[in-house]
Symmetry: C2
Subunit: 332 residues, 2 copies
């Protein structure tokens, strides 16, 4: 009963139609409207999500994905905006995904919707998207991996993923990013908070923002000391960059640090290894989600209730029932 006729048909349906192929072509040329439509399609997880994913796949894998995280108040949005400016000045195409549960913008928000990104919103080389966190995969919106693929296919040299550094979200961004920037601001409290959240272990580049404030030197010193306690197995020496993002100070240093990290990732094959691990996690998550979805669909049919009846009647143990359910939800 498994592996039957429905599979090939379902897969044929994921071939991109001519309209979608045209949309992807236009996105690859950098058309803001086409990029926006593709982002909406992956965010809404509609019936065409698979089709979009298939159409994007051949055009991905180029962008340098940079996660930017840190506690509220350290200046994440200001830093991201300053980074966009510096990257654009170097002629690079930039994408920004702002994943922030406190954002006033919904998942369907339009490109250029962020007030603080206003200066970049008319720049054709910048793609900005605010994504509401929704769904169950921690703080980072579940649609984020697909949205990253859209911006990657749109020819972005760098995609910045900004998340609030609370709870689980900084771990999520790490699992998505090639390079992770952890922002701190003067004041030992932030450093301790960061250490608690396990953020020090996952950072590739540290930024002490608001470096003109009292205590900046102390924060840098504390950070350097804390790093000296842990063994860095990867061989990458994590730089500590001082910035005053609101005035653009130190931002070129940050760009240089990120470029150096990318070169290091590429040289040792580490970038490829990270991408493989990320792809494995993503494939597994999609598989489990599909099993869940198919089981939910079977609630409406007689299959799951029938199995439950037989378990309650003692005719079937729950493990055999799970086998039968697996047969029913089996390969697409």
């Amino acid at each position: 009963m498994a592996g039957g006729g429905s599979g090939p048909a379902a897969r044929r349906a994921t071939e991109p139609g001519p309209e979608l192929a045209d949309l992807v072509d236009r996105a690859r040329r950098g058309e803001q409207r086409a990029v926006g439509r593709l982002l909406s399609m992956v965010e809404n997880a509609g019936p065409r999500l698979r089709e979009v994913a298939a159409a994007l796949a051949p055009h991905t894998g180029y962008a340098h994905v940079v996660g930017v995280t840190g506690a509220p108040g350290v200046g994440k949005s200001t830093s991201v905006s300053a980074l966009v400016g510096a990257l654009r000045a170097a002629g690079r195409r930039v994408g920004v995904l702002a994943v922030d549960p406190s954002s006033p913008f919904s998942g369907g928000a339009l490109l250029g919707d962020r007030v603080r990104m206003g200066e970049h919103s008319t720049d054709a080389g910048v793609f900005i998207r605010s994504m509401a966190t929704r769904g169950h995969l921690g703080g980072l919106a579940w649609a984020t991996p697909q949205a990253l693929r859209v911006l990657d296919a749109a020819g972005c040299d760098v995609v910045l993923v900004e998340t609030v550094g609370v709870g689980q979200s900084e771990i999520d961004v790490v699992s998505l990013a090639d390079s992770t920037v952890v922002l701190l601001a003067p004041g030992m409290g932030d450093g301790i908070q960061a250490a608690k959240a396990g953020i020090l272990e996952v950072a590739d580049v540290f930024v002490v923002n608001k470096a003109d404030r009292p205590g900046a030197a102390r924060t840098v010193r504390d950070l350097t000391y804390m790093m000296s306690l842990g063994q860095n197995a990867s061989g990458w020496t994590r730089p500590v960059v001082r910035t005053v993002a609101s005035r653009g100070e130190g931002v070129d240093d940050l760009v240089a640090a990120l470029d150096a990290h990318r070169r290091w990732l590429d040289a040792g094959g580490e970038r490829h290894r990270r991408r493989l691990a990320r792809a494995e996690a993503e494939i597994e998550a999609i598989t489990l989600e599909q099993v869940r979805g198919r089981i939910a669909a079977l609630r409406g049919s007689a299959t799951l209730p029938d199995l439950a009846k037989r378990v309650v009647a003692g005719e079937l143990d729950p493990y055999r029932a799970a086998d039968e359910l697996m047969d029913a939800v089996g390969p697409s």
Copy 2:
């Protein structure tokens, strides 16, 4: 590739061997050692778990499963012990599963291991098991549904499941129990805590324990008032029983309230409906767990890494990769 030859063989392996059939027979006659061995087998989730589940299935569905929950300090263990005494005095066979993350006893703890249950530990009609909470299914140990089946098959008329009423665990016990007892003790704080945890909605029977203490009347009044605010859709009027469990006072009233609830559940078909819903949830959880387990097994093989490689190379989108993974993990 799916639905192939491994399935029937895997299922044949779940037929109980003669040794296991003998063990189940001895457990059904109430032999403590046989019950203990079966509990260990399901707790350890070893290769024979499926075999045990299959052997137990025809002998389950009789026990009245009673969840007992409440905040720390309200007297849960004392109340459970008093309930065991009252039920034993009425000649009923009783099982106790103590699911408590703060328990000093491990999941492999022996029968009769609970100090406070000492008085019952030499009684052949009482089966007591402390289960450490482990695994990922919230506060209640994942093995609990299977352990319940063991005690059910062992001919227990009533199985008491004691959980600490913190976080998610009271919801878990509700999803397992036919009847849920929520314990409170004098002092409005407890009442408010309970309301916050959503515990008022899930209770079938309320117990105000330590009813000899100042404030007991007030707690009963507050509880009655809070219940009057919510509509009771089920048609069951939830009783509020006063007890002083440490002296056995009111415990017969609690037994009577539980018996009345069981009669009400049976008369309206509600017990069957709850068991069906519970079986559906259990089948689904086992299915997802098996998919997860099979994916984990594929990490060691080339399947998942190969799929990840093709996704990273852009040859395959992650949704098609998930299809292929689903084929590989497909029906057993």
